[in-house]
Amino acid sequence: MTTKEYESYYVPAHSKWPIVGAFALFLIAFGAGNYVHDLNNNSSGYGGYLLIAGFALIIYMVYGWFSNVINESMAGRYSHQMDNSFRQGMSWFIFSEVMFFAAFFGALLYARQFAVPWLGGAGNNAMTAEVLWPEFTASWPLLKTPDGTETNEMGWYGLPLINTVLLLTSSITAHFAHVALEQNKRSQLKVWMVLTISLGIAFLFFQVQEYGHGYSEEMQLYLTSGIYGNTFYLLTGFHGMHVTLGVIMLTVMFIRILKGHFTPNNHFAFQAASWYWHFVDVVWVMLFIFVYII
């Protein structure tokens, strides 16, 4: 690092976007609180509207904030060092996301390694099974809960397998897109981007299909079907949300590419989106192994 780089470390003078974003989060949190509260009491209130307003505001915020950043970047205000800050920021953000999923994976592992066997009498829990749950036998996936709710197992072949292939492929195409960008092959870049985004959308489509299948008469795998259904839907659901976000990010990148943004050695935003995409992919692989296969 040379001294010169420090001289041009860009510090924006002020910005209205953060406070807009903070207010948006307030609307989301407060709105969601009211919404859930109302749902639970079967009453109707304004929670939903607040929630929508919050999301609208946050989209407005992201748009405005990122426009600023893009303008600044295009105007050449960002030094190499600034780029580094962004990269490091993004990687730690992804790490925090990993830890978020870790909480749910932790719950899954705890439930299948400890909670369910213990309910069935494993370890020092013989009396738990004998006195409290005499009818219950432990198994994973837990198809019959201690209180008798029954459900069925979602197999790993079929849709989940197809989805795995789709998402893995999309990670590869995203990588090719990156390579193309670095070699400044713009038309190839566009093709790879379209492919990646389409694969992502296809994934989401099949995921919705799969949920439909889960909620069908024959499967009866609901969010409320005991710990198996809980972990299944929460893990795949949060993953799905992240895929959605990833698709949106990639789409924005695609639009920017169409507008002629990014150069072979200045494309942090693109790279952030593609990192995110790889992260989503890795989470899926973990999901596929731990939720579906074993």
């Binding site: 209205k16 405005g64 909480a103 201690p146």
Partner: protein, 529 residues
Amino acid sequence: MTTEVLTEDLSEHNQHHKMTGIKRWLYTTNHKDIGTLYLWFSFIMFLTGGALAMIIRMELFQPGLQIVEPDFFNQLTTVHGLIMVFGAIMPAFTGLANWMLPMMIGAPDMALPRLNNWSFWILPFAFAILIGSFFMESGAPNFGWTFYAPLSTTYSNGSTAFFVFAVHIMGISSIMGAINIVVTIMNLRAPGMTYMKMPLFVWTFFITAYLLIAVMPVLAGVVTMVLTDTYFGTSFFNAAGGGDPVMFQHIFWFFGHPEVYIMILPAFGIVSTTIPTFARKKLFGYSSMVYATASIALLSFIVWAHHMFTTGMPLFGELFFMYCTMLIAVPTGVKVFNWMATMWRGSMTFETPMLFSIAFVILFTIGGFSGLMLALTPVDFQYHDTYFVVAHFHYVLVTGSLFSIYAGAYYWLPKWTGHMYNDVLSKWHFWCSLISVNLLFFPMHFLGLAGMPRRIPDYALQFADFNKWISIGGFAFGLSQLIFLVVVIKCIKGGEKAPAKPWEGAEGLEWTVPSPAPYHTFSTPPKID
């Protein structure tokens, strides 16, 4: 040193350099402004949380239900804990980080200034929701700051959703704040400032920020499960559906234990700055301090279940967590011994920051000793969920974290305001606090040993005398904190002009700039040899 940083804001068509009025604070991207915001916010939250504690102490002044209903008492305890932890101590440290880190490493500002502002402004909104729930029909959360399921799920009152979402956005704020700290330290150090040349203060915040990034998302995960268990029919924490209430505690404490070190590591950083200054002697064992901090952080990930010894864990688990917990005494001991050795054969003076620092070392160590006692599983069966635990954590949090924050505040007030604080008043603040805080928290050890459970609004007669004295100590401690408010306001308004380096023995880049520190510092990086 006063060259301008590149600061135009392209979108606003607004070339004013420094905004005035409220907009300055709402739109600011300046680390000093944001640091100030954090510090004021945390102090207001401290007063709020303290006011709740005062009601708790009034209720416990004598046996019988006096002024609040049992359910409201539980709300007070819960919100007191939540506000103090998330609203007072953590933001105060983030405020110090914002103010001092860039100056200490010779950076022009935090690495991601807009994100910085966002991190701050989420907080007032999050706490507005949390405190607002007192005024809702169902009342504020009443399940303890640890919100154990199923009390917080199936059996909770109607405001749980608000609690959950407030914690979510609080978490977003903390994570973004922590990312900013990590990136600033990794990327913005002045040339020559190698990692092992960074002040220990910087090191402790660096490590703390990693802890935050690693565990705040886990908190977000567990509150999400509480949300779905409460409102959407999942059974993560319900045996009937194959879950386990104890699983909640595992996930919560996986966050919760590192969280308590998040509240103490920066404190270590502060006193490692002040003690050498006023002992006029270099910090003893700098590198071992760095390794000790890192070891504490690493160990903190594998001790969480010491909060859960009575939950019926298998023997193997109890032993594992007991041994790991005891091990933490080793690196912490190294720190205490190093501070001791720093003072040894120094040339000491006792300005207010030093007084708070010394009180910190001694009283924190007492809190650490009770922590070690709690770590022994068989004895924890007796201590757990009694006032002994309450005594332990107030010693490490109040005379630990809070005292270190005071030490830091007095130490840097001249740099922040350009004025010296009123020395006499600040000594009053210290001595009143020191005496009353011990009257407040020391007898709690006896109450716990004698068998008084925590989180109860009323107690058996033999506990009456101690509780009375504790309450008196509490009121006295509360009032003493108002002295600090007076000192700060006076210091901002005026007072003796502070030189660039008011402390003879101080070291560090922050003392090379004038007092008050100019709005922008180190636009060109300083030279470090």
